[in-house]
Amino acid sequence: MTSAADPVIKATMLAKTFGATRALDGLDLNVAAGEVHGFLGPNGAGKSTTLRVLLGLIRPTSGVVRVFGLDPWRDPVNVHRDVAYVPGDVSLWPNLTGGEVIDLLTGLRGGADERLRRTLIEDFDFDPKRKARAYSKGNRQKAALIAAFARPARLYLLDEPSAGLDPVMDTVFRSQIRRVRDDGATVLLSSHILSEVEQLCDRVTIIRSGRAVETGSLAELRHLRRTHFRVEGGADPVRLAAIPGVQGVRANGTAVEFDADAADLAPVLAAVAAGGVSGLTVSPPSLESLFLRHYSDRNGQAR
């Protein structure tokens, strides 16, 4: 069907409008086989909408989507054969027990791996005998996660999967992601939890207003950021400001603060050393600042 080199998910210029709302507005998304791909963006950015398009639950207004090389709108059944999905808002059948829900969902996909099912129920400390009506939010989430993980899939589409899980259950969830990645599966993980993204994801895509504003490995993204310097001593602000890639130089008492392009720090270090240093703080670009900037930047300009 597809060779290993083909991306598992390939979306090009994807647009989706709901009446006057443009939920997706020219989104590009590529997820390679075997990759755990973080999918981030502020509330209402279009993450859940993208996942629904990838499943063929809704039809894109324009653009091209391929999952395993297939068009999910035209051929949902064949796409779903190898997909496990956890929706962002897990709603279960109130009069079915958790165990019955898991059996229903895995059964419709072809049947659970019994050993996996048992371990998952144990690891997630889940009571499968209770009616879904009586489950807490976290327990509903667990039911959906167990149903997703209890049968191996080639692609896991997870929409804020750890929402509502306590920290212990969160580690169980993360170990499951590692397990499926080690089995060679691909994961698209929409999340608002940066530590989770940092720990699990090989690459990330950040979307805002239905458009990808950044995509790449975390290292690459960091690379694009500026490193923050605070130098105490005799550093010369004028000389520093003249170095290409240095910005926002300001003297602050005896200290000088500035941001430098992380790609080329050698001339900066030379200039700092030349002035004499009594104290030095260098902060790497934090993911948080990176994301916050994307999230809060309202003018639509990346970087």
């Binding site: 054969r81 009069n95 059996d103 229903l104 969902l105 005998k129 589409l157």
Partner: protein, 539 residues
């Protein structure tokens, strides 16, 4: 209680389209009936003739109510009251459950519960809204009657009789909402009580005793147990009497206070029917669309079957008895013989056919509800989980349509079987029991048309499918019950599928019509399956 009025206004805002549609629809039905009677039965002698026939036909008494004189208003009230009261009851129960148990189940009441208002304030607000809605309904019905030229006192009393039944069911539904664990089960139970009120009145009226001139009938005791029967006792157009209506409203007030007390003492989400632990593993069939549909629909289906069994038993068991009670009246025998055409057996057949016709509507309703379950699955987000599996949407829809069609058949079969059993218990060998089962099943093709129409709307315009699905069924029912009376052109009456299925045992079975209806139903199902692939999943 502080906050009640604000909450009631907020709830009214949610219902700003739905309630006016209900109220205007009911008032319009009254207005149209009144105008039709005034023009079609202009002469007193004509009205005396139909009232005379009605007074001694148990089928009429059961379905419509008590004749109460030969004035235009009296004829209108006789023809339309019982149905209008059922509609008022359903409007009220759906209104109350929507804002109480359904909201509670979906977690919406929790956020209200965190506001600085007493625990029972949302319920009190709903009761207030329900009372206000029924007041407006009463006024609208009265205005409709008055506009069609009926006397003022009668119009107001008749409006009051409809509104009082509505108010009573507001309180009853509020009580049901405390008992049942889910919105769906509460709606089912409350609507079932409305149906029971109609049936009890029907039994009482069918056992009624006609006056010497056959212009009035006094009902039997059974209708004392029915709020609809109480409303009827106000006799708006002969001897208007508000006391029964005051009794109804008073009873509603007592129930309402009790319910408020219960609510302020109970947990959020708590009900008198607690949840038990269930099975850890899905049984056989628990991993297929059809199995899931069966699991989800079973409790509802049982409810419909119980209703159908009661109706069927009445159709079979009551027919001979009431016919003898009415027609066998020695002092009136000669008069009746002239008025009512046909033999005793034929009168029984008319009664049976009429009730089994209602059973056909029941069966259709069970099917429509099974199809609308799909919409609930979609709106409440479970379809999203379900349709991410490697099965096509067509299979999902198809499985539910199969189950809906099976529900229709089962409900009809239960009604027919109960009728056959009832008939044999009442000791009448004619018509044969098997014929009654056939008579009930004869309505299945017509009922199937309704469920496939609902499915087409679900596939094409999902947001409309709940009002349109029920609206079509109500339309079919109204065409069937009022089409002749209103002298609607026959092509309009022919729009109702029920008109094309044979009213056995009065009419012979019509295989061609049954086949045509089945073909239409299958065509609709095919269109729905084709269309469902072509739309977004939409909340």
């Amino acid at each position: 209680m502080p906050g009640v009025v604000r909450l009631a206004l907020a709830q009214a805002r949610r219902d700003r389209v739905l309630l006016p549609v209900w109220i205007l629809g009911i008032a319009l039905l009254g207005f149209v009936t009144a105008t039709a009677v005034a023009t079609e039965f202009d002469a007193e002698s004509e009205r005396a003739a139909i009232i005379g026939v009605a007074a001694v036909s148990p089928a009429f008494l059961f379905l419509r109510g008590l004749p109460d004189g030969t004035g235009i208003g009296a004829v209108v009230f006789f023809q339309g009251y019982a149905f209008t009261a059922v509609l008022a009851g359903l409007m009220s129960t759906f209104l109350v459950i929507r804002h109480t148990r359904a909201d509670e189940e979906l977690g919406r009441e929790e956020i209200i519960g965190s506001l600085p208002v007493p625990r029972a304030a949302p319920l009190a607000a709903t009761l207030l809204l329900g009372a206000a809605a029924n007041l407006v309904l009463a006024a609208s019905v009265a205005a409709g009657f008055a506009a069609s030229g009926l006397p003022g006192t009668g119009a107001v009393t008749a409006g009051g009789a409809v509104g009082a039944v509505g108010v009573f069911f507001v309180a009853v539904a509020a009580a049901v909402a405390q008992v049942m664990p889910s919105g769906r089960s509460a709606n089912g139970a409350a609507a079932g009580l409305v149906g029971a009120a109609y049936l009890l009145r029907g039994i009482g009226d069918a056992f009624g005793s006609p006056s010497a001139d056959l212009t009035q009938v006094t009902s039997g005791w059974a209708s004392l147990f029915s709020p609809i029967g109480w409303g009827q006792r106000s006799r708006p157009f002969s001897d208007a009497d508000p006391v029964p209506l005051l009794v109804l409203t008073g009873a509603a007030a007592v129930v309402a206070v009790a319910v408020l007390v219960v609510r302020s003492r109970r947990d959020l989400g708590g009900s008198l029917l607690p949840e038990r632990a269930g099975r850890e593993r899905a049984g056989a069939g628990g991993t297929s669309f059809l199995g899931l549909a069966w699991r989800l629909q079973l409790p509802t289906l049982i409810g419909w079957c119980v209703g159908a069994a009661v109706l069927g038993a009445l159709a079979g068991g009551l027919g001979p008895v009431v016919t003898d009670a009415v027609v066998g009246n020695e002092s009136l025998k000669e008069l009746i013989g002239r008025l009512v055409p046909g033999s005793r057996a034929e009168i029984i057949d008319v009664f049976t056919a009429a009730l089994l016709g209602i059973a056909g509507v029941f069966a259709a309703a069970a099917g429509v509800q099974a199809v609308l379950r799909l919409r609930a699955e979609e709106v409440e987000g479970r379809a999203e989980l379900l349709l991410a599996v490697p099965r096509s949407r067509a299979r999902w829809l198809g499985a539910n349509l199969v189950l809906a069609a099976a529900s229709v058949t089962v409900v009809a079969a239960v009604a027919g079987t109960a009728a056959a059993v009832g008939l044999s218990l009442s000791g009448t060998g004619n018509p044969p029991g098997a014929l009654l089962i056939g008579a009930a099943l004869a309505h299945v093709p017509a009922a199937a048309v309704f469920l496939s129409a609902t499915a087409v709307v679900f596939a094409a315009a999902p947001r409309l499918c709940i009002p349109v699905g029920w609206g079509l069924l109500a339309g079919g029912l109204i065409l069937g019950q009022f089409g002749e009376l209103l002298r609607l052109p026959s092509w309009v009456q022919d729009l109702s599928p029920f008109r094309h299925s044979a009213a056995m045992p009065v009419e012979p079975f019509d295989p061609a019509a049954a086949l045509a209806l089945t073909a239409v139903a299958l065509l609709g199902a095919g269109i729905a399956v084709y269309l469902i692939r072509r739309r977004d999943l939409a909340a």
